[in-house]
Amino acid sequence: MNADWTLLGPVLVQALGETLWAVSITMVLGGIFGFVIGTMLYTTRRGNILANAAVYNVLNVLINIVRPIPFIVFIAFIQPVTLGLIGTSIGVPAIIVPMTIAASFAIGRIVEQNLVTIDPGVIEAARAMGASPLRIISTILVPEALGPLILGYTFIFVGVVDMSALAGLIGGGGLGNFAILYGYQRFNYGVTLVAVVVIIVIVQLGQFLGNWLARKALRR
């Protein structure tokens, strides 16, 4: 039970840094790709502004294939892509690839689901005013669904923190790795607990920030 925090402290800080790094990059890249996927899914639906059955079906099936794969299996499944993209399949950059891909599809679905709740009448009104599809996406879809979108991204953020815990598996470090290596495997419950608390704090901060932004967006 006696952990030497003068030694473990810097390791914890490094693990925290690795987790934050992997989570941030994933949220930014996955956020962008996910937004594109989600908007394409939504706008290519039947009767919508860019209705296109082929694009819609391909994206829809792709998401349905990727999403149910357990992340630990997905890391292995996507390994060739990771190798091809960054030349290695171990370390922090290597975990970012599967994380970003998984997050993109998850965010894509969340974005689509939030856009669906927008009143189609509003889009119709914008069309009647001569707005182009791109303009409708940027000036109608995003602002009208901003609050729920922020909450959706926040929800995904928690999942991404969860994914990052598996980074240790491929030498990607991070808090999950820290907890397993120094806590679980050394039977040091105190260390595990510290890692858990740090993760809880990250998640809480993220959730708090998301709720606050969403409230601002919804003006209530």
Binding site: G121, V122, E124, G130, S132, I140, P143
Partner: protein, 341 residues
């Protein structure tokens, strides 16, 4: 008058699964510049589809549509967007942007049309004044009543100085008083700004209040078209008659007749009243001249497009020859229909 919108044998069908729905079938009509044109029909008659063809939100399956002389049926989507700037549209559910203030909503089409900021601001202020919402510029739509929301919708639709305003069931979500308020505003849009207004509704009252001419749609087909006065005072199709009867109950229904017949065994006739008829003077002579008494047993007279019209159902009591003579006199001043015994 010249023509603002011309439909030439326009059809629009949708394919739903394997089924084909003919929403609009072979409609030909023209909407004059500067008029308020009403389109009435039951739910599913194709009214919305018909107006959405005017601004190209739906593309015609066949036929031609000319808007201010330009054939829009062949225009590519990118050019259509430009045409839409010249056509305002308002909706039953207002369709305001929740994320923008009242001013932001009115400004939105001006941004699309790339107006410079200063001109946009001035235009928004001018429009909000026009619809009487100058003091609500910073409110959000959810803070407004239905009538106020529709006035914002109207201001927004007018922003880019369109030639045409399309109103799809624009008062159907409002109470009767607010409906009149919005209709009066549409009338001002038409009279003060000279904008051609196309009003779609399933409520005859809306047509009666503001339309100059009316088209009756049924099952995607145009079944009747004319001035509101002509169509109201002399409806031809069954659907038109039933619309007219929703606002003007001056003709007894079959049920009414059964009841009336029970109480009034004499000769019963219905006289049509158009403008100021001389029915009254003929009737007041009836007793002295023929010894025929009369009873008014049903009817009503109202005004339409500043002309009186309606019908009165009378029971005439007296000997047969005298009643015949009176009916002849009545026929000279009004159209008379006999109610069978």
């Amino acid at each position: 008058m010249s023509v603002m919108v011309e439909f030439e044998a326009v059809s629009k069908s949708f394919t739903v699964g394997k089924r084909q729905v003919d929403a609009v079938e072979q409609v030909s009509l023209s909407i004059e510049k500067g008029e308020i044109f009403g389109i009435i029909g039951y739910s599913g008659a194709g009214k919305s589809t018909l107006v959405r063809l005017i601004n190209g939100l739906e593309r015609a399956t066949s036929g031609r549509i000319l808007v201010d002389g330009e054939d829009i049926t062949t225009l590519p989507e990118s050019r259509l967007r430009h045409v839409r700037g010249g056509i305002g549209m308002i909706f039953q559910q207002f369709n305001l942007l929740r994320s923008r203030t009242v001013a932001g909503n009115v400004e939105y089409p001006l941004r699309i049309a790339k107006w410079p900021k200063e001109k946009r601001k001035a235009r928004v202020a001018e429009l909000l004044d026009f619809v009487g919402l100058g003091d609500r510029a910073r409110s959000y739509p959810e803070q407004l009543s239905g009538g106020q929301k529709q006035r914002v919708g109207i201001a927004r639709a007018l922003a880019t100085e369109p030639k045409i305003l399309l109103a799809d069931e624009s008062t159907s979500a409002l109470d009767p008083e607010t409906t009149q308020e919005v209709l009066r505003l549409l009338q001002r849009v038409n009279r003060e700004l000279g904008i051609t207004v196309v009003v779609i509704t399933h409520e005859m009252d809306v047509i009666r209040s503001i339309a100059d001419r009316v088209a009756v749609l049924e099952g995607g087909r145009l079944i009747e078209l004319g001035t509101v006065f002509d169509v109201f005072s002399n409806p031809q199709a069954a659907a038109t008659k039933s619309f007219v009867s929703t606002v003007l109950r001056n003709q007894p229904t079959a049920d009414d007749l059964v009841r009336l017949r029970r109480a009034h065994p004499g000769r019963v006739v219905t006289a049509e009243i158009l403008d100021a008829g001389r029915l009254g003077s003929v009737l007041s002579d009836a007793v002295g001249k023929y010894g025929v008494r009369f009873e008014i047993i049903f009817g009503g007279i109202s005004a339409l497009q500043n002309r009186s019209y309606g019908s009165i159902t009378l029971e005439l009591v007296g000997d047969e020859g005298s009643v015949d003579a009176l009916v002849k006199d009545l026929q000279a001043v009004a159209a008379i229909t006999e109610v069978p015994a």
